[in-house]
Amino acid sequence: MAQFNKVFVFTLAGWSGFFVMAVELLSGRILAPDFGNSIYVWGGVITVFMLALSVGYLIGGHLSLYSPTLRRLGYLLLASAVATLPVVFWGNSLLESVFEQVHDPRYGSLLASSVLFFLPMAIAGMVSPYAVRLLVTQLHASGKSAGSLYFVSTLGSAVGTISTSFYLVLLFEINQIFMGLIVVSALLSVAAVAVSKWSDEK
């Protein structure tokens, strides 16, 4: 794989990490009006995110068996961004209806975060193992590739966490941040498709 493509794989993985944590932090804020700020609301959110990511890792690893390309990695990123759109458009009405149906805020927040976040986060989880496959060229260096990728994607998560909680919430409304995240993901995936086309032609 060309050096430039490698850099791009890392960029996508790093951004995906950023995206996941930014969404996770904001999800707590989205749930607070209906389910409160109780510790179990956070418990529900984190459980759903971890579960979604774990399923995503499994599926992403499996997908990487079938002719993996940078272009397809870009599609995964785009899919997770598109799957986040319902949070912006139907989030409130969905939370309201869960609030009306489920009276225990523990299961309410668990159900609400499953419905809103499971799918986009599961797709986001597919990015990392898929990216590892794109990076690995030799068996003996596979651990090194995986290590570098975890490094970049978790670093992205850290940056996503701090920038969202320290700065973005001060500057923008929650839905504006969501739209910003979705747009950046979309732009990066378009760029990934372009880069992969360009290197194919070369």
């Binding site: 804020r29 700020n37 109780s38």
Partner: protein
Amino acid sequence: MKNKLGWVFFAGALLLVLAGALLMNKRPSAELNELYSAKSLYRNIVVYEDKGLRCMKFGRHAVGRQSCMQLAKQDELVFDCIKMMMAGLYFNPAPQRVLIIGLGGGTLPSVLRKLFPYIQIDVAEIDPAITEMAKRFFYFSSDERLRVFEQDGRVFVKRALQQKIKYDFVVLDAFDHEYIPEHLLTKEFLQEVRDVLTRNGVFVANTLSRSALHNFESATYYSVFGNFYRMKNADNRVIMLRMGGLPPMSEIAQNATHLEARLRPFAMSKEALLPLLAIESGWAPYTSVLTDQYSPSNLLNAQ
């Protein structure tokens, strides 16, 4: 060689763990006469006695005292902010159904219970440890007419709306270790409170005078309720309003006079309280309203 390094690491880690355990076991500080300190789900709670007062605060280093009680004269209210919140009675001298968000030491519900033995008082308190402390150290007790719900205040109000339960007196006195939680400061929350109030229901909210959020709060309350009164001293600003239009000052003063004798045992006097009352004004017209979409209140407060 490698093995040796392993042992050094192992010993180092062991030392760290031991040091940590020792630090955690530190005795409560002697000068404040700590009675109890607990790490609850939400905060550190410290109960201590100092100069004849028994107090509860959140976190050993917290500046403010969350709740205090005089040991010799338990009825006499210590803090002006409690007296100012109680002055909500000047707006409605005979409440029937009261909601209090945030229990603290339980002072407010206990005093209301003494004044009005037969009314229904509901309290929403998120932290079960606070309720336990209030019962254990501040003589608070609950029964079927003074119920404590272990729930987030916002969720409680929303459920009440769903069940069409109304209150004619609502008190917001909810603080975490920093300030009022963000989701209890927004326009949407205040609209929910407005909808849970009866036609002439009274809403009283305890906020801080020197908070950087002061003007944001004013703009947000104004956006939902229109003009509102406040009682203010150097530390606290208690926002007070009544549905169906603010009562004129003459009516408030008249109610205060009627209540004076009943409130005296609690160290409340209209001479001290009424001069603190005024219609709030003075925030810039373009001040942002806090909403569920934009309420970075704790960050704004820290600036």
